[in-house]
């Protein structure tokens, strides 16, 4: 019977050991790589970033064609928009005198400024498209059916919030595209019966797009609507778990 004799640790083994088994590393990551089923479940349940997941899911749900990751990617876009948005906030002042110049500065003199602005804009478009596609996926797989009725409603609210987030961001560059798109958009809002003109006035802080509109859209865009969206997203994700995970055939 062949007995494996212990081999001498190679230089690679030693480096690996020094890197991942030292005192500081272990203070950050409480366990090593989870390589047993028990530890793999524990790492999902006890990690602050992963604990949104259940520890185990039905095998049909990891099939990419079941969800195309659309909901997760919408959330990922939200995270990416938060990161790039914060970076843009360092350079942007929402006043009529400075807004346009600040955007010009971001695109010309700020290191990676143009890249951050591009990322922010394309991610915003991607998020609108992904959220809509996510809704289509949920509909065509019949995943809105009981017991997930309320989560579908939360999803419709999140769709509206996504549109509003994108719409409020549209004004901020204060260029001709922004100004007239918001003029047209708020005119649509203003046509509502009874409440329309008041809503429009409240949104713009006046009868036409001006300095007050800029600060209102900015505040809604960077704090008001993201907070609201975050609350609804928390409910949305929580309800997925409470309603029994992703829908699957009975």
């Amino acid at each position: 019977m062949a007995v494996e004799s212990p081999t001498k640790p190679t230089i690679a083994d030693k480096i690996y050991d020094k890197m991942f088994h030292n005192y500081v590393w272990k203070s950050i990551f409480r366990t090593g790589y989870p390589n047993t089923p028990r530890n793999q479940m524990l790492v999902v349940a006890t990690n602050v970033f992963l604990h949104l997941h259940p520890t185990r899911i039905h095998r049909t749900h990891v099939k990419i064609t079941h969800t195309y990751c659309l909901g997760g990617l919408s959330f990922f876009m939200f995270l990416g928009l938060t990161v790039t948005g914060i970076l843009l906030m360092f350079y942007y002042v929402p006043s009529v005198e400075r807004a346009y110049l600040d955007i010009q500065n971001i695109t010309t003199t700020v290191q990676f400024g143009q890249l951050m602005r591009n990322m922010h804009r394309w991610m915003a478009h991607a998020m609108v498209i992904l959220v809509f596609m996510h809704m289509m996926r949920v509909f065509y797989t019949g995943a809105y059916k009981p017991p997930r009725e309320f989560n579908w409603v939360v999803g419709v609210i999140l769709l509206v919030l996504t549109f509003l987030l994108s719409f409020t961001g549209y004004l901020l560059p204060w260029d001709q595209l922004a100004f007239w798109a918001i003029t047209v958009g708020t005119n649509i809002a203003g046509s509502a019966p009874v409440l329309g003109p008041k809503t429009r006035f409240w949104l713009l802080g006046g009868f036409e797009v001006g300095p007050d509109s800029l600060i209102r859209f900015y505040t809604l865009h960077v704090i008001g609507l993201p907070l609201l969206a975050a609350i609804f997203m928390a409910v949305h994700f929580w309800r997925i778990r409470r309603d029994g995970g992703l829908a699957r055939p009975l």
Binding site: P34, Q40, M41, V43, V44, H53, R56, I57, H58, R59, T60, H61, V62, H66, C69, G72, L73, F76, M77, V96, Y100, I103, Q104, L115, N118, M119, H120, W122, A126, F139, T141, G142, K145, P146, P147, W152, V156, F163, F167, W174, D175, Q176, F179, W180, V184, G185, N187, I188, G190, S191, A192, P193, L195, G196, P197, V209, D243, R248, P249, L250
Partner: protein, 297 residues
């Protein structure tokens, strides 16, 4: 005799099939990581290659022609061209969002969830309803822009003369028919209820003096079309034996919506030129509205 009221229980989460389950780490976390990575890289390269647009500084005195809302609102801007502003801009989208939110309360059957197109006729219904929504919306847009009458005349020499001019588009019914004077101001409320006539919204009616031809083309016909055509489609599919339950009806409705929504967005984005005229995308020019630089017509 007292009848016991039995509350219909709300559906509970399904029992788990534990032997069919896989571990989230690594199976799902890995997929999420790859998906996030693919999107980060794709968007990164897109951002390197394509710059976000930045035009001249905002100027309230210089109006670009056409002025357009952000692309995801252009479906509403397209609707605005065909009907009353309050209806197109607010009432229809709000009502539709409420209808959509109410889907699961209408279709309460728990059968057939968790798999793509999971009723017998689902694929057929989706494709046909999508096609109806797609071509139907295009036809309606073409008709209301007067293009169908134009093509009939231009290509086939068919013309209705003055007799049929009122069929050219929806608003010609208001302008080309000999409406009697009294029909343009029908008093039907003794007091002035200003509901659809908020300042600036410019609705064609007041609840005191109804402009009947205006009301007909701005509100009645559009509502009849928007409610009637989907109803007719679902009814037809039901009679044909395709639509067999509420799920099927919703499949037809939603697929028609997605197609119509797509066509409206696309038309508003790529087919509307100066003065919101219907043009081909390659003819689409934007006038920056700077005095002295107007392109000649």
């Amino acid at each position: 005799m007292a009848t016991a009221v039995v509350a219909r229980p709300v559906a509970r989460p399904q029992a788990r099939a534990r032997d069919e389950e896989v571990l989230v780490w690594p199976d799902l976390v890995f997929i999420e990581f790859i998906a996030a990575l693919v999107f980060t890289i794709t968007l990164f390269f897109l951002s390197v290659v394509v710059n976000a647009p930045l035009l001249d500084q905002a100027n309230a005195d210089v109006t670009p022609n056409p002025s357009k809302a952000p692309w995801y609102l252009l479906n509403l801007q397209e609707l605005l061209l065909h009907m009353n502003a309050a209806m197109a801009g607010i009432i229809i989208p709000t009502v539709w969002l409420i209808i959509m939110g109410a889907f699961p309360y209408f279709d309460r059957d728990t059968e057939g969830q968790g798999a793509w197109f999971n009723t017998e006729g689902a694929v057929k219904i989706t494709i046909v309803a999508g096609a109806i929504g797609f071509f139907g919306t295009w036809l309606l847009i073409l008709w209301d822009s007067g293009k169908i009458a134009f093509f009939l005349n231009d290509w086939f020499g068919i013309t209705g003369g003055d007799t049929f001019r009122f069929l050219e588009n929806v608003r010609s019914m208001q302008s080309q028919l000999p409406w009697p004077e009294w029909s343009k101001s029908i008093t039907y409320l003794p007091f002035n209820l200003r509901l659809l006539d908020g300042t600036g919204s410019g609705g064609p009616t007041t609840f005191q003096h109804l402009d009947f031809p205006g009301w007909l083309v701005e509100q009645a016909i559009p509502i009849a079309v928007l409610v009637g055509l989907p109803t007719l489609m679902i009814y037809g599919m039901w009679r044909a034996g395709w639509v067999m339950n509420r799920r099927d009806a919703l499949l037809a409705l939603f697929s028609g919506f997605v197609a119509a929504y797509g066509v409206l967005t696309l038309t508003g984005t790529a087919f509307r030129g100066q003065g919101q005229e219907l043009v081909f995308p390659w003819e689409l020019k934007v006038s920056e509205g700077i005095p002295g630089q107007e392109p000649g017509h």
